[in-house]
Symmetry: C2
């Protein structure tokens, strides 16, 4: 098969390939869509129970991917090939890999990887789990098991395979840019498409009439709703798609703010939901015309195309020896990095527990895994369960035996029911009564039986942060399970799970075509995997990668800094790691290193290579597979990074044409929140609020000026292309652009760190706190405080940042005053209610923070009852109170104070203290201590405790020696007044009544 197919030939081959797999060939949709998913042939057909298998090309329009034709593989229009397999045929990844072979991509010659990707479309109310498929580092396909569409759970689940045709052709043709590719008929891709590409970009970025398109959006939405009312699914869907495209244009034009975006998504999603329900209802009414297509009938999910002679039921002739090893391999499609870690951890706990519960003795449990397999290996496993002996209580002894000592029918019956004779019974005494009892022995069953019962639950017990369904069993797992190997010694543990039958077959590496490997004895398992060159152990892979990476770095006189997170992730992406060194053009080093590093680490999972502080023009990737054809893989990866960097350079060059402050006016087009105005409005508020906050934080004049300037510029980078594209760089890019624009270093630093939880600089802290205060005050005032677990504006994090920043920087700060200052600047009313709500909300966060700092619930309660307005003070108070509770005298101190509180608490009135009327020495003693304590009072727990410590003996004496509740009201009330004053010492400090023992 030629590897030089032109674009159209390649496309035809793919259509033909999938046609041969029983797919209907559909057409691209006649409404502009962002992806083939939105074609009704996907987004509607995946709903409901009918099977559906389809393939089609979809020229997909994503306005904000437009690069005016300057990027080698990123365009506002790219061609997708969309495949839907419904239901899952059992071997979809294999079918997919064969489709690549049909166009000349041999999996042995490339690095084809399945990289976790949790796809969701907020506009379609759809999500699914799956992967990006990488070809030599390039994402060429989006592969998803569709879980929900239009807000409706899907059953059956559909497999969605979305090829990026342009990128695949690029790789096939070995060109540097899509524009250079051979489209077909002697025409270059660029000659066919470039001019329109440039024009569409121009339109989307610079020409589209924002107001007009918004109005049309509203109109089309209404029309969609009319259609739904009239029961018209397809026309309603068309209008929703048109809305989606209009939204994309508006967004690219920079006319949609963060909160407005969420609002638009919500609108589209609501319409999509109605459409989906209407479609489902309609298909039911039509009695599922597609239900009975014999071409599409999958008999049942099968174990990943195991040759049938290898799928064996357990033979009674084959049994394990006692002490034979046991192996369970749970084979699946590629697990996400985090799920693999989590599953191994869960199994390490669950397997011993399971064996213990099963009364199966064993020597050692090992759990290891790769992205495609979790392996449980048990050494020295007993062939049978231990026997179980238990005492069973029968009837009362006096009923069981006659006065003659002979067994009654009750005793006989009881013995018989337990399979014993009367002679085996004995008598036990319990609670002063005597009963007949029997000792029952349950003989252990063979390990094979015991495990066969429990292994399904073991697997079912594995929980993942996100799990998915894929076949008619509706079992959930991280990714589809494809085989189960379960052997004790030579014996298969026979069980079914998720439509799979356990057996003695495992599968080799994807690059080798995942060949079936027969394991006839559990003891052979390790060797079988080694033979297949699969490195089962995480640590072994990790070490090999680390060593290989270091060596490759050395080869160019560089080093790779420790990066355990990335190393762990990469380790979990491969079954057989082979690191490789790639290079990129030096010119890209002109970009800010943070950009390059973000692209390499975050987007590509490459290790960046340094020489000292300096980046080198190299990267290290890790292939899943061996050394063969490594040059092809390297070449592919280099092409990818070139395109990625070119993209970053496109943004960067565009941004640095302007000074940072020139972006400020554009913030007017970014809505912060409808009621609270644009990001420019927010900026204007921050400019006013930051100096106030700075003063409250006691910054110097110079620091205040710095903070004020930083506040002006803080949000400007949100309008830069780089941040629009790589949101994770917000703030940091702002700092960089500020420096480039000639701003002072401390201004740049304050901008750069504004999103951090804890500020490093004082001007930075002022900006960060002002920012959080504005968000909290504003969004609560607008009635948009978090509800339940729904926190769309991340206000929990904002509150946490306030607390952590002030606490870590040991700064007292009156939140109420700060919020009032923020509230006064808002375009909406700042009410007492809103203030109380925000403070309560921050108090809730503060409680969590203090509890997480290790303080007891009572300490936290006691402190927060009296102080939430100053988080740093509260943290000091909690510490001091906690310390006090550890002191030897705590109980007496608390008791003394509690007596004062308890006796005065019922009083409706606060009595005036007439000092001179206190004549008893016990009274005078307490009065003297009180006067001292009131003078010392500074709001801190430490001072309060010290005062209390001074007062305690007097108080104790007073209560012991003097009747407080004297008959003479004057005397009584004066004594109570004294105690009220003592009780009041804790006001604003802590509410000790919350303490245990109060």
């Amino acid at each position: 098969m030629s590897s030089k197919l032109n674009f159209q030939q390649m496309n035809l081959r793919l259509l033909e390939y999938w046609q041969a797999q029983g797919c209907l060939i559909w057409q691209p949709y006649n409404v502009q869509v962002g992806a083939g998913t939105m074609n009704p042939a996907t987004i509607l057909r995946v709903l409901g129970p009918e099977p559906w298998n389809v393939v089609y090309i979809e020229p997909s329009i994503r306005p904000d991917d437009g690069r005016f034709g300057d990027n080698p593989n990123r365009m506002q229009q790219h061609y997708q090939l969309q495949v839907i397999l419904k239901p899952d045929p059992g071997n979809p990844i294999e079918l997919y890999l064969r489709s690549l072979e049909a166009i000349g991509i041999d999996r042995r010659e490339h690095d084809i990887r399945f990289v976790e990707d949790n796809w969701q479309s907020p506009a379609l109310g759809a999500w699914g789990l799956g992967w990006e498929v990488w070809l030599d580092g390039q994402e060429i396909t989006q592969y998803t098991y569709f879980q929900q569409a239009g807000g409706v759970d899907l059953s059956p689940v559909s497999v969605e395979i979305t090829y990026g045709l342009d990128r695949i052709a690029l790789a096939l043709q070995g060109k540097n840019s899509v524009w250079e590719m051979d489209y077909g008929a002697g025409v270059k891709y660029g000659d066919a498409l470039l001019q329109a590409e440039i024009e569409h970009c121009q339109y989307y970025f610079n020409v589209a009439d924002v107001d007009a398109l918004k109005m049309i959006y509203d109109t089309y939405e209404r029309e969609a709703l009319h259609c739904i009312e009239a029961g018209l699914v397809a026309p309603a869907h068309d209008y929703n798609l048109k809305c989606s495209q209009l939204f994309n244009v508006l967004d690219t034009r920079g006319a949609v703010g963060v909160t407005e975006r969420a609002h638009y998504f919500g609108r589209m999603r609501r319409v999509a939901h109605k459409i989906s329900l209407a479609y489902i209802e309609q298909r039911q009414r039509l009695e599922y015309p597609l239900a009975d297509n014999p071409l599409w009938a999958h008999p049942e999910a099968t174990a990943g195309k195991v040759p049938s002679e290898l799928v064996t039921r357990n033979s009674t002739l084959i049994t394990p020896e006692d002490g034979d090893p046991f192996v369970l391999e749970i084979g699946s499609e590629e697990l996400p990095h985090g799920d693999l870690d989590s599953a191994l951890e869960q199994l390490r706990a669950a397997v011993p527990a399971m064996l213990d519960a099963a009364r199966l003795n064993y020597e050692r449990v090992e759990v290891e895994g790769t992205p495609r397999r979790l392996a449980v290996m048990v050494q020295g496993l007993a062939a049978r369960q231990s026997d179980l002996e238990s005492v069973v209580k029968g009837p009362p002894a006096d009923r069981a035996f006659g006065q003659d000592g002979k067994p009654t029918p009750a005793a006989v019956g009881f013995a018989k029911s337990r399979g014993l004779s009367v002679e085996d019974l004995s008598v036990v005494e319990e609670g002063g009564k005597r009963y007949v009892s029997a000792v029952v022995r349950e003989a252990g069953r063979p390990s094979v039986e015991a495990l066969a019962e429990r292994l399904p639950d073991l697997i079912a017990g594995l929980k993942f942060e996100k799990s998915m369904r894929w076949n008619e069993t509706n079992v959930s797992y991280s990714r589809p399970l494809r085989w189960l190997l379960a052997l004790h010694g030579p014996a298969v543990i026979p069980f079914r799970y998720a439509g799979l039958e356990s057996g003695y077959v495992t599968y080799g590496l994807r690059p080798y075509g995942s060949p079936a490997i027969v394991v006839r004895h559990a003891a052979d398992y390790h060797a079988a995997l080694e033979n297949a060159t699969i490195v089962l152990s995480h640590n072994a892979r990790r070490k090999a990668i680390a060593a290989g990476v270091a060596e490759l770095a050395r080869s160019v006189h560089g080093v790779v800094p420790d990066d355990p997170d990335l190393l762990d992730e990469v380790t979990n992406l491969v079954e057989r790691p082979t690191p490789l060194l790639g290079s990129f053009e030096e010119r890209f080093l002109a970009l800010p290193p943070m950009v390059l590093v973000a692209v390499m680490r975050k987007h590509q999972r490459y290790f960046p290579v340094y020489q000292g502080e300096r980046l080198l023009p190299y990267f290290i990737a890790v292939r899943n597979g061996d050394e063969e054809h490594l040059d092809i893989v390297r070449g592919g990866n280099e092409q990818v990074i070139r395109a990625r960097f070119a993209d970053a350079a496109f943004f960067y060059d565009k941004d640095i044409k302007r000074r940072l402050e020139e972006f400020i006016p554009r913030l007017s087009a970014l809505t912060f929140q409808t009621q609270l105005g644009s990001m420019l409005d927010k900026t204007r508020r921050l400019e006013k609020l930051t100096p106030v906050v700075a003063q409250m934080l006691e910054l110097t004049g110079g620091e205040q000026a710095t903070a004020e300037r930083a506040a002006s510029l803080a949000k400007a980078d949100l309008a830069t292309s780089m941040v629009v594209e790589m949101t994770s760089l917000q703030g940091k890019m702002g700092g960089h652009y500020a420096s480039r624009s000639g701003e002072p270093d401390d201004v740049a630093a304050a901008i750069a760190e504004q999103y951090n939880g804890v500020s490093r600089t004082r001007p930075g802290m002022a900006v960060a706190i002002a920012d959080r205060l504005d968000s909290l005050a504003g969004l609560f005032a607008a009635g948009l405080g978090p509800k339940g677990s729904n926190d769309p504006f991340a206000l929990r994090r904002a509150a946490l940042h306030l607390i952590e920043n002030l606490t870590a920087n040991r700064r007292h700060f009156d939140l109420q005053a700060g919020l009032d200052a923020a509230g006064a600047l808002l375009p909406v009313e700042w009410s007492d209610g809103a203030r109380a709500d925000v403070l309560a909300f921050i108090g809730g966060r503060l409680e969590v923070v203090l509890r997480e700092a290790g303080h007891s619930a009572s300490v936290v309660r006691a402190v927060l009852a009296e102080q939430t307005r100053d988080p740093y003070a509260a943290s000091l108070a909690a510490a001091a109170l906690a310390e006090a509770t550890q002191a030897a005298d705590w109980e007496s101190l608390l008791d003394a104070y509690a007596r004062c509180v308890r006796i005065t608490r019922p009083l409706a009135e606060t009595y005036a203290l007439r000092r001179d009327d206190l004549r008893l020495p016990e009274e005078r003693d307490v009065l003297a201590g009180l006067i001292e304590a009131e003078a010392a009072k500074d709001g801190s727990v430490a001072t309060f405790i010290a005062s209390l410590r001074g007062l305690e003996p007097g108080i104790t004496r007073l209560f012991d020696a003097v009747l407080i509740m004297d008959d003479d009201p004057a005397v009584r009330e004066n004594r109570l007044a004294l105690l009220q004053r003592v009780a009041g010492l804790a006001r604003g400090v802590a509410d000790l009544s919350a303490m245990e023992g109060f």
Copy 2:
């Protein structure tokens, strides 16, 4: 090759076939389009000089073709396969026929016909000439040579081939309905598409929000114009397409009136024009990137794939014998019916003229032809031109010969210059002067040379109503020329025309693959064609068809009424006619016969079969080809007529659910003209105007009531589906529906005949005249009278109808009063200017009518100078005047009258006649005649002439005997007064001063 390809397999085959011909495979467009033509891959790429060869599928959306899924092959969405070949490769029809073979359609087994179709898109500003391709009566392809797009002439011309994939698949799969077809993957076409089809219809016909969509149209149009201003071709085009789709929806929703439609088209066309100009400019700026594709380089247009050894230059060895026959065959792609007739007629005149001019003697010229060839056959053609003898005048004799009679050097020089000796000169006398002269003889050249010079001009001289260009020579013809056979005896007449080289090859029937046929001698030509079973003679084909049709009709005991127009047309559609009888379901006979007949005759060119007055469920079609596989052809045709009738039944059944008057309210959605309101407004006016007109026409009370009711209902059928679909049935359907709705017969009759030029009933006449008056008054008042040859509202015809109707029905009618009555009802101002304009306009038509009736210009002038307000009167006047001019006394009558006029014309004053002062017998005589004449005067010419005849002797005597201009002013003025009164007799009758001899 299997004939059971499913839909998607068939589509893939076609894509692959055209890919193999060097076409780029494009994708359907992501904007809803009515046809693949609108995809920029056609409508933009056909502009400018670059080559472009492309194929793609286009799901095309035509809302008003929606039938809610009830029709077997008519849907709002159908799939097109679009092919563009630019430039014309020279054999595009052959390439097309082979593509059909690639999907299993053997041209031997079917009747594949090329039926004239002049495609135009008013919205795109595009037009072209070509054909509908019929497969067994079914239109399966639109084949067009694109002449203009976006209002720009195209060079080169593109070949556009638009396949109707659904219909082709229907034929291939032999199903009764598209919904039953196999789409692929085991799925029925209907299961994949029917539900959405129904829903879209529902939306387009019943749900779409008219006001909202109109607003969006306006907005999108503005956005398109913004894009054009910004130089963005592709986005501008997208918006224009969106406008087009919105228009189609509005139209289907019934929200666009006739004039509003023209307005929308104009708007779209203007945008399309701007886009085209911008695109052309852009391609030039880009320096035509597609210009140099070697795959697309056609060396030059060739003569329809003539094997090269057969293309011969004339050999000097082969020469005709004197008297050998001559044959010229002009081979082309299929000529339209009318063009074929016209070309034959032109050749019958032009060939003898050419031969005479060429001084080639001949015995007989025959001209015959078929759709693919025009044949000129000359019997007994001379092998050489006749010699030419001419007398050339030289110098004056006295300068040529000396006094000695000897020739001077002048004579010698003259003789030498003519190749003669002095002895050959003679002397001639001219105008009294003598000159030397020479008789020059030009020897005739060989016929081959003489014809080679003239044949190109002969072909170039053929003119067609519409002609087209197709290749780089930019020659115009009815359809592309593909070969030229030109033989005199055995000798080829060598010439080039339209990129073709003449030769001795002709081509056989399309069903046989158009095999090349060598004709070695002109005398063999007839036999060669006969051998190829081509019937060259129109009459022979016509007779054969007539006989065959009659015989087939007899076979079912039916007859086919004489239908010479249809017979002529069918004769011109085939080269070898084979009539065949098909049948349709009896149930369709429930439809009104006019509908069935219109479908059969107009749409299908079938002969309907009658038994007496009654239609039989049969039709007769005429195949181009032989009897082989006639069953397949019959079956196809039967399927077509079934779908057509089903379509008609769909409309009819829909219409008759309501009484005719229930359609009246819907007329409010049909705009008559923006300023003049809807068709409902027009109806309301007609209801008022018709009674007025009826009174003016002196209808009885009963007739008036009938007319009034008919006026109310007259336009209602415009809102019926049947008339929306088949406009030609307007009025007639209204009459039918009126009868069905229980209206009286005379009301129905008046409705039915409202569009006729001449009314048969008197109420019908009242309605028709009121209708025309309203249109004329209204549109002139709105400033929309015809300008130049531009008459978008067909007002010329309206005026003509007024004239013909009144004249034919011999009704006097005061147009001015009628127009004033109409004008008073208009929603716009009815001014004196408008009235004058309309009357002048009608006068102009009347002049034409009278002239065409054979009256001399002077008669017409004379009559119309005095009467235009009453066309019947004017026609009578013209007749009478014409008759008078033929009488023996005309000259004396005219003279007498002229004398009266001439002597009084200079007078500024009209004198009072004092009868008693006229005492002379001559005076009294004339006075007596005058009194009599004035009493008789009735405005008619006849009366006037009679009076004049009585007066003439008196007048003559008066002038002869009496000096009118007496010196006595009183006498003089009284005599002049008398003559003024005589001259005045013609006032309002005719202006005889316009007559010759006046």
